[in-house]
Symmetry: C2
Subunit: 255 residues, 2 copies
């Protein structure tokens, strides 16, 4: 048994949880590992009773391998554990989410998540094309972050490869990335515009629009300094007691 | 057949995609519906070849019901469809994510997502307690949003129920919620502090910390005006071509 493999530990209370879950004919439920800060679905496996109790006891995402017919803890060989903050069951209790923080890339290919094959890419260009394209599943804010990062990398390429003519009309993002003074002026301006939506009761659409402006410009500033939204979400998770029992206790606290 | 049920439509290219997927003994893969803006895992079901091709053709999340042994489109009876923006396969192609935008609550119980039974709540208080607690799975930023909303609701309760003595020491969040001038001053100040991390090269930790300050205070301002991070993410998704082919084309564009 690899030293990193978590052990199932149960108490009568944990048995009560396991007894209320709906196990399939093979004694399994679907188990989804999700990144607590970014929301990325990292991987999907299956869990038996031992995998769920091992996860709860160790707070490391643990699954049942259908191919090897045994328990395995994500990271037991790679040391890239997924530290589980919370576990949720779905309404009919045949599916669980392990909400956690990964030590490193989850996929054995080195990708952040296992979901990097885009169906439309397979349809248009075939499996090999889609695999090489490695387009990770990303939700809106993280897609925007990637768009900004792409612009930054194009900028670097343009500088390094002097022979390559830069695009005729630089994008607004590239302009901001290359002009810190303009960028800071915009961040301050957008914060001011967001405040004025409240001060002048400009309505919900304007609030959402100005917050989008502020977020976008702030994210360009983050990107320029090599900081990610994930870093920021992690800071906030450390500051606020964000889930479960802690959240309730905090309602008597000072946050 | 319900009128809202999507129909499987294939082309040779779609067949090529279906042929490269790894179907289990029952001809199924796990299918996870995820909210494109918030990242919330909405529900998990299964998909056969018809369900995947119906989803791709209709762009509405469609599953194979194991209990009824038939195709079903989420929303075919409730009209709460999940409009699919993108579909991803995992590395071994036996699991798909339908990344989409739901018309309303996904769970038949009226909850936003099906994952509202917290395992630790079942362990500590039993299934009934956990079900009534309805603690939805939430990632960091959305947990913080909920903490802020809870503070706002406490404030309202305190005003309405005049008999109830308010907490001795109001939290910082409640203070901000009750003082728009202070709140706007803080948003402007935090934007300024974020800019100074760049202007004075204060280092990554300070950048993340100041962005966390700015985000938190902006979210209080949003909450006060009934606007959510989801609204903001949706605005950004509308502005930026955020995924797949559009994202690539946009690299020659103006964003
Ligand atoms: Zn279920
Ligand atoms: Zn670790
Ligand atoms: Zn993988
Ligand atoms: Zn603006
Ligand atoms: Zn898989
Ligand atoms: Zn609709
Ligand atoms: Zn449900
Ligand atoms: Zn300050
Ligand atoms: Zn600050």
């Amino acid at each position: 048994i690899p030293p990193g493999r978590a052990e199932p530990v149960t108490t009568p209370e944990v048995e009560r949880l396991l007894d209320c879950m709906k196990w399939d004919a093979n004694g399994l439920v679907v188990a989804i590992a999700q990144h607590v800060d970014t929301g990325a679905v990292l991987m999907q496996g299956f869990a038996d009773r031992d995998a769920v109790s091992a996860t709860l006891a160790s707070r490391r995402a643990t699954f049942f391998s259908r191919s090897r017919q045994c328990l395995w803890t994500k990271g037991e060989t790679s040391a890239n554990f997924i530290h589980v903050v919370d576990v949720f069951l779905d309404c009919d209790r045949d599916s669980v989410i392990y909400l956690g923080s990964p030590d490193g890339p989850t996929c054995h290919t080195g990708e952040e998540t296992c979901y990097f094959i885009r169906a439309d890419d397979v349809v248009s260009g075939g499996l090999q094309y889609a695999k090489e394209n490695k387009l990770q599943v990303l939700t809106s804010l993280y897609s925007l972050e990637k768009v900004i990062r792409n612009r930054a990398e194009e900028g670097e390429t343009a500088v390094v490869a002097a022979g390559k003519t830069p695009p005729a009309k630089p994008s607004w993002t590239r302009k901001l990335l290359s002009n810190p003074e303009l960028l800071c002026a915009k961040v301050r301006e957008e914060a001011d515009e967001l405040c004025r939506t409240l001060e002048e009761s400009e309505g919900k659409d304007r609030v959402a629009s100005e917050m989008a402006d502020l977020l976008y410009h702030s994210m360009v500033l983050l990107s320029l300094q090599g900081v990610t939204l994930e870093d920021v979400a992690k800071v906030l998770r450390g500051r606020f007691p964000l889930s479960g029992i802690e959240e309730k206790n905090s309602r008597e606290g000072t946050s």
